[in-house]
């Protein structure tokens, strides 16, 4: 899918200050397809610069098509790239952007919309910048993709806004869920010389440049970079705490920012080119680009979701009023804005949950995210009690009661007595068989698993579990609801632990086995953290609760006893006890790290052969969105394939493993 080339369209505009070169970046598409810089775009920029350099101008204004400035380099051209091509790409950008910087008259970047990566960098090569207060995306996300801003970004950002801001903008924001600046925030941070309203943004930008010309205004003097070494040293320490040395790009970006304090711009350009030649063809950038594609494009398309017309969901039921249930109720309330009823065994439990929901809604008002009227309306939609009759008229009921098959089966039997035959019956079970939950129902075709991850507000994944009976309309409805909840669903077949919990449990099995054999918690934590995952296994265990973790272990042990052995340590922790050392035979952290990788490769190959998901990409999407696995591992299978672990353990890359039999 080739994206249309972005062209640099030059027009001459006569003003009182003299003729202005007005350059528009435009790929001829609407805002949904942003401008990007591929080879064709750079050729177009070269032609525009050839024309501009031949004439006398009072100034230049560079802007984007409506609602978009430029989203940076065209990442579709990055796959399978050689170090030579990566270096050439860097050189081409430096040469062209450098020519903008060298123009002998004042230049202004009028940042009218999203500016990312190369879009930010081209703007930094202008003398001045205006930015619209409506801009929501101003960022250099390269580090998230295993890269560095390599068209002058690492050199010009510190010169413009100082080392502290540069570290935050180039290194820390991309690693904080790809945080981006708004127009006002970018102005506040010093990236722009003027913050203008969107309504007459370009008119006012033209006027701003004319005034600057008339006043003979000079670009701001470079920031004082005396503190750079110290700022970068502290940033490195924070980075060690976050990624444990696992990610290359953020460290390389810090090196380049540090260099900016002493290098000439040309020296900085060369250093960026070296970094691009190293990073772009490298495994982490290639894995990150793969992960970006999965999360931003593939998952949003809904791979494998049937085309059926979803049913309207006008009333939602939540069975249970516990911690998970109330979080889910709040999410449905906020995103669907339909009546939500909760039911639990006692009115006290229900009232407690309703009070919690109303308090959360009130908190949103205090943060300015909801109006008081809207909050009143949302609160009025939540109700609950102890009777099953409350669920009459629901279009979807999601149960989130205690993880026990008989309890949940009873819930579904009771529900079927009060709801219509079309009402979707969903379960948030994490380890039980959804098929078994639906057994014995008159209409098992409307049973589906919707497995959310805790904390619900943070983790975007929902495992959408289909049983052999689940029909297309039910799946389509659950998918549509998930989208409205602003979550991303991955379709999985009903199998113990589905994907995320099964993989984390297998990883946990390596950890508890090590603890059973005398390794310390620090050692097992380090063995896993070395991957670059956000949470140590010991912290994860506390979050889930040792009791629940052990329950999951038992479920999986029943299915695959040899891969999920019961652990004396886990049994003890679940009872509130201490780790139990069965035999003192600790392994090194390196050995443990390898054992974790091999266990992951093995388990994922089973998941794929069983057809729990269609392909390795689905496993990676689950880990990226449901467990916070980092982009630079490409979830995990990309990393396992790149490093040869898959080959060693499975005999082939996981990307090539397909279901051994057709999934039910």
């Amino acid at each position: 899918m080739a994206s249309p080339p972005t062209l640099f369209k030059l027009r001459r505009v006569e003003t009182e200050a003299g003729p202005l070169a007005l350059v528009t970046m435009d790929n001829g598409e609407d805002w949904r397809k942003p401008n990007t810089f591929g080879e064709a775009a750079l050729r177009s920029l070269e032609e525009a610069l050839d024309a501009i350099e031949q004439e006398a101008w009072a100034g230049l204004v560079l802007t984007g098509k409506p609602f978009v400035f430029a989203a940076g380099a065209d990442i579709d051209e990055f796959g399978e790239i050689t170090p030579e091509r990566a270096r050439e790409g860097g050189e081409a950008g430096h040469a062209l952007f450098g020519r903008i910087r060298a123009l002998p008259f004042p230049t202004l970047a009028a940042i009218n919309g999203a500016a990312l990566g190369g879009g930010v960098e081209i703007a930094l090569h202008c003398d001045f910048r205006t930015i619209s207060s409506s801009v929501r995306h101003f960022a250099c996300p390269e580090v998230l993709l295993g890269l560095i801003p390599g068209w002058g970004g690492t050199q010009l950002v510190p010169r413009l806004v100082g080392a502290e801001q540069a570290v935050r903008f180039i290194v820390e924001n991309p690693l904080r869920q790809n945080r981006m600046l708004t127009g006002p925030a970018a102005f506040e941070a010093g990236f722009a010389d003027a913050l203008l309203e969107p309504v007459e943004f370009l008119d006012e930008s033209l006027a701003w440049l004319q005034r600057a010309i008339a006043e003979g205004r000079s670009p701001r003097p470079p920031a004082d970079l005396a503190d750079t070494a110290e700022v970068v040293r502290k940033a490195r320490a924070r980075l060690d705490g976050q990624v444990h040395g696992a990610a290359l790009a953020p460290y390389r970006a810090l090196d380049l920012i540090e260099g900016a304090a002493t290098w000439s711009l040309e020296e900085g350009y060369r250093a960026e080119e070296d970094a691009l030649a190293e990073l772009l063809p490298g495994p982490q950038a290639q894995a990150s680009l793969y992960a970006f594609y999965l999360v931003e494009r593939r998952a949003k398309r809904g791979a494998g979701i049937p085309e059926a017309e979803p049913r309207r969901v006008q009333k939602v039921g939540i069975v249970g009023a516990g911690l998970m249930a109330r979080q889910l109720a709040l999410l449905f309330l906020r995103r669907l804005e339909v009546p939500v009823v909760l039911r639990d065994l006692t009115q006290e439990q229900v009232d407690d949950a309703l009070a919690w929901i109303r308090e959360e809604v009130a908190g949103l008002v205090r943060k300015g995210r909801l109006s008081e009227g809207k909050a009143r309306f949302l609160s009025s939609l939540a109700s609950g009690g102890t009777s099953w009759d409350l669920f009459a008229g629901c279009d979807l009921v999601l149960e989130a009661v205690f993880e026990e098959l008989a309890v949940k089966q009873e819930v579904f039997r009771e529900l079927e007595r009060v709801v219509s035959p079309e009402c979707v019956l969903a379960t948030n079970t994490s380890s039980l068989s959804v098929t078994a939950l639906g057994a014995g129902l008159a209409h098992p075709e409307r049973v589906v698993g919707m497995h959310f991850f805790n904390p619900v507000a943070v983790l975007p994944l929902v495992e959408l579990v289909r049983t052999p009976s689940t029909d297309d309309v039910t799946l389509a409805t659950a998918w549509a609801v998930t989208r409205k909840l602003r979550k991303t669903a991955v379709l999985v077949r009903d199998a113990p632990g589905f994907v995320v919990n099964r993989i984390l449990a297998r990883q946990g099995a390596v950890v508890t086995d090590a603890l059973d054999h005398g390794n310390t918690v620090e050692e097992t934590d380090e063995a896993v953290l070395r991957l670059g995952v956000p949470m140590a296994p010991s912290v994860l265990l506390q979050l889930v609760g040792p009791k629940v973790a052990n329950h999951v272990r038992h479920t999986l042990h029943e299915a695959w006893p040899e891969r999920f052995p019961l652990s004396p340590t886990l049994e003890s922790l679940a009872r509130g006890g201490e780790p139990v050392v069965v035999e003192h035979a600790p392994r090194t952290v390196d050995e443990l790290h390898q054992a974790v990788l091999e266990a992951l490769a093995d388990e994922i190959s089973h998941i794929l052969e069983e057809g729990v998901v269609a392909e390795a990409a689905d496993v990676d999407t689950c880990l990226l969105l449901g467990a916070g696995y980092p982009f630079w591992l490409g979830g995990i299978t990309k990393h396992l394939d790149q490093t040869g672990v898959s080959q060693r353990v499975v005999g082939r890359p996981l990307a090539e493993v397909r279901p051994a039999r057709v999934p039910a």
């Binding site: 369209k9 030059l10 027009r11 505009v13 006569e14 003003t15 007005l22 350059v23 528009t24 435009d26 001829g28 802007t63 098509k65 409506p66 309203e197 309504v199 007459e200 370009l202 008119d203 033209l206």
Partner: protein, 397 residues
Amino acid sequence: MARMLREVLYVDGARTAFGRAGPGGLFWKTRADDMAVKVVRELLRRNPTLPPERINDVIMAATAQVGDQGLTLGRSVALLAGLPTSVPGFAVDRMCAGALTATTAGAGEIAMGAADVVLVGGVEHMGHHPMGEEVDFNPRFVAERLIDESAAVMGQTAENLHDAFPHLTKEAADAYAVASQRKAAQAWENGVMDGIVVPMAVFTDEGWTLAARDEFLRPETTMEALAGLRTPFRAGGRVTAGNSAGLTDGATAALLASEEAAAELGLEPQMRLVAFAYAGVQPELMGLGPVPATERVLERAGITVDDVGLFELNEPFAVQVLTWCDGVGVAPDDPRLNPYGGAIACGHPLAATGVRLMAQLARGFRDRPEVRYGLTALCIGLGMGAAILWENLHARG
């Protein structure tokens, strides 16, 4: 309860450049409502002593009140222009007299004491809304011969004028058109338009550019060139693209205030609204409309045509102006008539045109302090005419 009517003053007016309607035109990729927003904001910028919350109503005209001209334009433009939500607005339609009707409606609010300050204007993006395209003519019009079929096509009503008044020849019409182009070119050269036309950044297939000059200007127009043009409305006709106004995209807005509010807010009013009149004529002779409207407004003001020192008349068709000249006794080359050229040169974005006439009259008043009264008038589809009589606040003596 006895009450005093209040004087209504014209403070300021602005317009966009006028563009050629259609895919090749300057405004093809620009929304009509955004064009109206541009001129409204220009007025606010030019009159900084006016607190926006003191605007009591925003009245916007459009003939096609759908698409980017739908959604109760006056209100939506107010919101889009960043006026406080406390400022209301509405939309009006009287075809070519839309902005003029917005003006008299706003004047009514001010005179009644219902408002102190009103923003009025009009917009017509004839590229996005070709005339009559979204209209469903009632078949009774034709079945019951309520109107002649030609009344629906403005060019045909112009041909009808030539038929009805055979002494108004094509040569006279062409000569008028050449003069209009010449006067407009002079006005642009002399900077007259700089105070009226506000440049606007517009997005096009070739990138952003500045719409700063009317696209229809043809200063080089000659009688010889006009003689050879096609007559699109009938074979052997007399109305051509050269002696009529082209299909146009444009927006206008003006600021009206009561005498008291203007003084209180430190505004600089240019004209006083003396009287206005609307009139109806046979729809197929639509262009006759301004004649009875002019007669009526002069009668109401108690003055004669000789007391009027400036006429800003719309020029949808040269023959329509000639008909008016004939009817009220003003020579087509009278220097009082359209001194800065007219719609034949700049274009005629239907509902927007009225404020263009006022803005040019206000400029004419400033240049001619010896003039006391001026008239803005235009003809209206379905057989109507509109006229507003103004007094020059810069007049000497």
